[in-house]
């Protein structure tokens, strides 16, 4: 079935909602538009609706034009979704779109880091997640950057200026925050503190990848993959762990990987259902 359809993917995270419009057929996939919105203290279901409407209106489309609206992440509450896909499944497929021969995906989100081994159809073969402490998450970076008076967009570049990084506790977010307060009072420079946090989180990424025996191409996705300092730090630690840093890649659209995967799986499911309906006739 090679008919071209519109699909939408909406990835509801705990900090941001990522929405993406796609032109999908079984042979070609084209991202038409995308939108990212910070939830702040609003109702995620409302922000999701507004994001969908924003993309539709911007592209002069109505909801009826969308053959399949697929949600992922926390998106089960999206009222207009046709189907929901689990986040590891969508990140796996999204990563393959970004890098068609990817072997592993590391979804570095606000709450968790997930390392996923995938096959070349985007099927999840194995996975590991960080434990229960938030010190391995993007939310932790946001909290610390707020404490340091930095915008979240600044922390990546800031970390690249570090000369003597100071690493906080990697066990507990509360202890790590206390460590950071202590570092500030000791006069440690902001770049060194920020770099230390990047190292702490990257250590967890490498630990997850090691537990999967990762030895192929690794695509970083999720919000933290947009942070150039974080990508750089993951590569540095990978090299120390005898992994090839060249195998670790991130893209401008890495933060949209979940939404991309949802839109692709939505299109795939739409066509499959249509074929099934035709066969039943």
């Amino acid at each position: 079935m090679n008919e071209s359809i519109y699909t939408m993917g909406i990835d509801v995270g705990s900090s941001y909602i990522k929405t993406l419009l796609m032109n999908y057929s079984d042979t070609t996939i084209q991202i038409l538009d995308k939108h990212i919105e910070k939830i702040r203290k609003r109702n995620p279901a409302t922000v999701a609706e507004e994001s969908i409407n924003y993309l539709l209106e911007k592209n002069k489309l109505t909801h009826e034009h969308i053959a399949y609206l697929a949600s992922t992440g926390e998106g089960e509450m999206v009222a207009r979704k046709k189907g929901h896909f689990y986040s590891m499944t969508t990140h796996a497929r999204g990563a393959l779109y970004l890098y068609p021969t990817a072997d592993y995906v590391v979804d570095m989100g606000a709450l968790y880091v997930k390392a996923i081994k995938i096959d070349h159809q985007g099927k999840v073969m194995d996975y590991k997640m960080t434990g229960q402490c938030a010190s391995g998450s993007g939310q932790f970076i946001e909290n610390i950057s707020r404490y340091l008076g930095l915008a979240i967009s600044e922390v990546g570049d800031m970390s690249l200026k570090s000369t003597h990084p100071e690493t906080p506790s990697g066990i507990c977010a509360v202890l790590a925050e206390t460590d950071v307060i202590n570092m500030v009072s000791r006069g440690i420079s902001t770049p060194d503190i920020v770099k230390g946090i990047h190292i702490s989180i990257s250590n967890r990424v490498i630990k997850l990848l090691n537990s999967l025996n990762a030895d192929g191409t690794i695509v970083l996705t999720g919000g933290m993959a947009s942070n150039t300092g974080m990508v750089q730090t993951v590569k540095e630690l990978a090299e120390k762990a005898n992994m090839n840093p060249e195998n670790i890649v991130a893209f401008d659209d890495s933060i949209f990987a979940g939404a991309i995967g949802a839109a692709i799986w939505g299109g795939f499911r739409h066509n499959k259902l249509k074929l099934k309906a035709l066969a039943e006739k």
């Binding site: 689990y86 590891m88 499944t89 709450l111 968790y112 099927k123 999840v124 996975y127 997640m129 229960q132």
Partner: protein, 400 residues
């Protein structure tokens, strides 16, 4: 909506058990859940199991109120949450036994007996109460983490069982009667075999009893071993489930995966987890936990030796190698397609995910394994969201 009809009888059996404890017509012994209950009953003791109270504190989610109370007197919240919640409940003079069974407090013991075949924590836990109640306390300390239970081990534990007799005679006022012990053990074995039969009905598809239901229906095999009541209850339950198997009636209309639960139940989230698996047509059909009350080595002809063997051979007291073999057999028997390892943060002894077991099991069986973090009672260690992500991904990975 699938329901097990025997649940009404279960409620009655458990209520009667607690009402008997309330009337205090017999001397009362406290015992660990895999302790020498049959020997104690043969002296005429009623037997009470603090672990059952721990499970109740977990299931009613009261544990989190009591754990900080125990922490205040030096029992930190990262040690056994049965211990901390039970001690906290005692200090607070408050227990869900009041609401559920009309008991003002845990019944006061005349004798306390533990077996460290599960963990050393029970010794410290029970010693606290022995001190509180100025009550005699006896312990069995078997060899631990065994590949095989050898004759020397049986002799060792058997002689420890025998050494309990004088104090049991003194406290109960009854002389030891070997025939009474044999009879209690016979009843216990018959109940335990019926419990095994109950659990094994879920080898079939559709499975008639889930792990989550079994954690509730296991009440009598824990607290009433060695009684006619337990035997009669499991006859009713196993008959009902066998009939369901015959009629192809299961707790899920459709099974797309069959899961084994390794480790302790998360008592306060049984319903949540049961619903989560059911939504994904995933049948959780077997567990280490429920299987731990199958004592098919009991033999009334050699009551001391066979008790020693059965209680020393339990899963939790075995080496990693022996545990792996047991798990592989159960995975094979129950046609398991995925294994959940519950890493209970306050129960190191009953968490088997920390020495490479999930990876080894996957390597040797090809069955996917998943570790989820949580706890038996302390839900502060359990993240619903994180566990859901992990479980849903596993189920998608393995579902047929």
């Amino acid at each position: 909506m699938y329901e097990i009809a025997a649940s009404a009888l279960l409620k009655e059996v458990m209520n009667n058990y607690f009402q008997d404890l309330k009337t205090r017509s017999k001397p009362l012994a406290w015992c660990t859940s895999v302790g020498p209950a049959e020997l104690l009953r043969s002296f005429g003791f009623d037997v009470y199991f603090p672990e059952n109270h721990g499970a109740l504190l977990g299931a009613t989610r009261k544990a989190m109120d009591y754990i900080p109370v125990a922490s205040k007197i030096g029992y930190p919240s990262d040690i056994c949450s049965y211990l901390t919640s039970d001690i906290g409940s005692h200090i607070q003079k408050s227990t869900p036994l009041t609401k559920h069974y009309g008991l003002d407090a845990q019944p006061i013991p005349d004798l306390i007996v533990y077996n460290t075949n599960q963990c050393r924590e029970v010794q410290d836990w029970f010693s606290y109460f022995a001190n509180q109640y100025k009550c005699p306390i006896l312990g069995i300390v078997p060899p631990r983490h065994m590949d095989e239970v050898k004759q020397a081990d049986i002799d060792n534990v058997s002689s420890q069982f025998k050494s309990l007799i004088p104090e049991c005679e003194r406290v109960s006022g009854n002389k030891f009667d070997i025939d009474q012990f044999r009879e209690t053990l016979r009843l216990s074995k018959e109940a335990t075999l019926l419990w095994k039969k109950t659990l094994e009905t879920s080898i079939q598809t559709p499975a008639p009893i889930s792990f989550f239901d079994a954690t509730i229906h296991m009440g009598p095999i824990v607290v009433l071993r060695g009684t006619e009541t337990a035997k009669a209850y499991y006859k009713v339950l196993s008959d009902e489930l066998e009939l369901n198997v015959k009629n192809k009636v299961g707790f899920l209309p459709k099974e797309t995966s069959r899961i084994y639960w390794e480790g302790m139940p998360i008592w306060g989230r049984l319903r949540f987890l049961s619903d989560l698996f059911a939504q994904h047509h995933s049948a959780v059909v077997a567990s280490t936990y429920c299987n731990s009350w199958i004592f098919d080595d009991f033999d009334e002809r050699t009551p001391f030796e066979s008790s020693a063997l059965a209680y020393t051979k339990i899963f939790i007291n075995r080496s990693e190698r022996a545990k792996l073999t047991i798990l592989k057999d159960l995975i094979n028997d129950f046609r398991i397609t995925g294994v959940i390892f519950h890493e209970a943060k306050t129960c190191f002894n009953n968490s088997n995910s920390r020495f490479g077991m999930p990876a080894k099991l996957k390597e040797e069986t090809g069955v996917e394994t998943l570790i989820i973090e949580g706890d038996l009672c302390d839900l502060r260690f359990f993240s619903e969201e994180q566990s859901t992500i992990k479980i849903e991904t596993l189920l998608e990975q393995i579902s047929s």
